[in-house]
């Protein structure tokens, strides 16, 4: 698993005098912005992965590029990345247009693609900061730019024991970014309260349902890795999951990196992930939410 963070660190409290109090609510003292476009960020993260695992260039693989920050209409970024980082032409390459639930959904897709491929690469990349009104306290204090590249192998220790996916498209109006300048002046809009209601309504119950499908309960779970949305959201979810599970956070380190938040959370915890039962929950824009249960084979 490799990553590339936006190269410009921005102190949230310094953006605007109104933002200092926001830091205690969000848990995010610094956000990160890139001057590069999302393709360049994706390419750097993937190139790092290829340098670490050069053997993946000589065999067929599946490459997923997960983002809602593409700046080109076509072709897919996955197709361009295949060539630019030197992957085999026998690569299944496609883009997935998803945000905060993107990695969980990508991992689910990878689990199915592993039936036909020995290796699947999931590249997540979002550069939301270029979409923001920098003075919008609800968004500018939260989002960071980042890309991650994750290699999933068929001979790995883990399996996706179960998954539950949910979409509530009626909530599209609560988190959007439109080319139409008439909609929020062309800036990303987030109704935090409504997204929080969705999160509270859905995520924990979804995790319980996924565990049930795997024949497990919360008692069998060692780790819960959730999308790092903000401190308020993490506090709520940690309270729901209770004291019996490990509930790591790194919101204070990177901010909300959208589709990269879960891979950035688990990148330094791979031994922990590989040796225990885990729940992964990605949720947000769509509105959408996906929960996976990972167990040892």
């Amino acid at each position: 698993m490799t990553h590339e963070i936006g190269e410009n660190q921005i102190n949230v409290a310094a953006i605007s005098p109104d933002f200092e109090k926001a830091v205690a609510k969000t848990g995010i003292p610094n956000v990160y912005k890139t001057d590069r476009d999302s393709y360049q960020l994706s390419q750097v993260a993937l190139q790092k992965l290829v340098e670490r695992f050069p053997e993946i260039t000589s065999a067929p693989l599946a490459l997923l590029h997960i983002s809602q920050s593409n700046q080109e209409f076509l072709p897919s970024y996955a197709c361009r990345l295949q060539s630019d980082v030197g992957l085999s032409e026998e690569t299944l390459s496609f883009d997935v247009g998803q945000g905060c639930s993107g990695f969980a959904q990508g991992l689910y897709l990878a689990s199915r693609l592993l039936l036909d491929y020995e290796n699947v690469v999931i590249v997540c990349c979002d550069t939301y900061r270029q979409k923001l009104d920098p003075l919008d306290r609800s968004t500018s204090t939260v989002f960071s730019d980042a890309a991650t590249a994750t290699l999933v192998r068929s001979d790995g220790n883990l399996q996706v024991a179960s998954s539950v996916h949910l979409t509530d498209g009626s909530g599209a109006k609560y988190l959007f970014h439109s080319r139409d300048d008439a909609r929020n002046n062309g800036n990303l809009y987030m109704a935090g309260g409504d997204v929080l209601v969705f999160t509270k309504r859905v995520v924990f119950r979804q995790a319980e349902a996924a565990l049930g499908r795997a024949g497990l309960s919360l008692h069998h779970v060692d780790n819960v890795y959730v999308h790092q949305a903000s401190k308020l959201v993490l506090d709520e979810l940690e309270r729901r999951f209770g004291d019996g599970v490990n509930f790591p956070r790194n919101i204070e380190e990177f901010g909300n990196t959208v589709s990269s938040s879960i891979p950035l959370l688990i990148r330094d915890r791979l031994d922990e992930v590989n040796e225990s039962n885990s729940v992964i929950c990605g949720f947000g824009v769509g509105l959408s939410s996906s929960c996976l249960v990972l167990t040892n084979k």
Partner: protein, 81 residues
């Protein structure tokens, strides 16, 4: 779970938004205060949940409330006592 007390509600909203309590009255609407944006509203929801037993999950309409009066009316409709 607390009973509905208008003074307590006003104080709780003021504390949630981190503003002078004198700025919050029954007539206050969200557009009156810069602090009552999406992030501020989440803080108000957190206060309501702690005070009235996860009420914003049971009553999603709180998420779109844009005035103190609206919050109070929702509480009166959904909190017993």
């Amino acid at each position: 779970m607390a009973d509905i007390n208008e003074s307590m509600l006003l104080a709780g909203i003021a504390e949630s938004l981190e503003v002078d309590p004198e700025l919050i009255s029954i007539d206050t609407v969200s557009s009156d205060l810069e602090e009552w944006d999406s992030l501020g509203h989440i803080s108000i929801m957190s206060f309501l949940d702690k005070t009235y037993g996860e009420i914003t999950e049971r009553v999603p309409d709180f998420a779109s409330a844009t005035s103190v009066r609206e919050v109070l009316e929702l509480l009166k409709s959904h909190v017993e006592g």
